[in-house]
């Protein structure tokens, strides 16, 4: 997929909302300031990614993981982010697990409706194996 220049930018509306949440009510943000912060955010992502990647390489891994990103934050001197990040990660993991369970149940239901009931035991084993494999792989994001 070829990248267009605008793809490396973050959506203006979302950036504006995040800025407003951080400032006292009634404070104006100039268009120039908003645009500058948006660019700064993109640069932050690149810097964080590069830093996290160094940690991954140190660990001889090709996939960036959560620990790498957290280490990068510390290295970049954003220790103040550590606690909120760890807390959010926990919530996120629980949410993802919940979604996965829901998908599993949906699949099971679809399967049992189409096939014989005797097949259900086999499906359970398949699902368990699948879950172990999925945990470590990179997944495509649902948006």
């Amino acid at each position: 997929m070829a990248e267009r220049p605008e793809d490396l930018n973050l959506p203006n509306a979302v950036i504006t909302r995040i800025i407003k949440e951080a400032l006292p009510e009634g404070v104006n943000i100039s268009k120039e300031a908003r645009s500058a912060i948006s660019r700064a955010a993109s640069v932050f992502v690149l810097y964080a990614t590069s830093c996290a990647n160094n940690f991954a390489m140190k660990g001889k891994r090709k996939t960036l993981n959560a620990g790498d990103v957290l280490s990068a934050m510390e290295e970049m001197e954003f220790q103040r982010f550590m606690v909120p990040l760890k807390e959010s990660l926990e919530v996120y993991r629980r949410e993802q697990k919940g979604k996965k369970e829901a998908r599993k149940d949906k699949d099971k239901k679809a399967d049992s409706e189409e096939q014989d009931k005797s097949r259900e035991e086999d499906n359970d084993d398949d699902d368990e194996r699948m879950e172990e494999e999925e945990q470590n792989d990179e997944e495509e994001v649902d948006n």
Binding site: A22, L46, V141
Partner: protein, 125 residues
């Protein structure tokens, strides 16, 4: 109910993957990067507003951000993309002066160098 993260993960992923040395990104790492970016935006905005020496008290301006990049070590990695602004007249005067001071050497790449130098040394607006 507030969402866990507002920035779209797909877009964050595109930016991360634009780094040539990155092969793959685990889902948790993607989420954390997005969340960290949100925290960063909030921090940059609130810090700049608090420490801004701009004349407007009820606004966040580009100058506030530029000051932050220059003066706060944590945000120094942004210095190049948030240069201080300079009046065109001042810049032209600086160019003239540099030309007079150093006539020795090449003519070729000097333009680009001077531009960067001027911006780096410029007085805040």
């Amino acid at each position: 109910e507030p969402r866990l993260v507002s920035l779209p993960l797909s877009r964050i992923r595109v930016i991360m993957k634009s780094s040539p040395e990155v092969s793959s990104i685990n889902q948790d790492a993607l989420f954390l990067t997005a969340k960290a970016t949100e925290l960063f935006v909030q921090y940059l905005a609130s810090y700049s507003y608090k420490h801004g020496r701009g004349k407007e008290k009820n606004a966040l301006t580009y100058t506030d951000l530029s000051h932050t990049a220059e003066e706060c070590e944590t945000f120094q990695f942004l210095a190049d993309i948030l240069p201080k602004k300079i009046l065109a007249s001042k810049y032209l005067k600086m160019l003239e002066k540099e030309k007079q001071d150093g006539e020795v050497g090449d003519d070729n790449d000097e333009e680009e160098e001077d531009e960067d130098k001027a911006v780096g040394d410029s007085v805040g607006s």
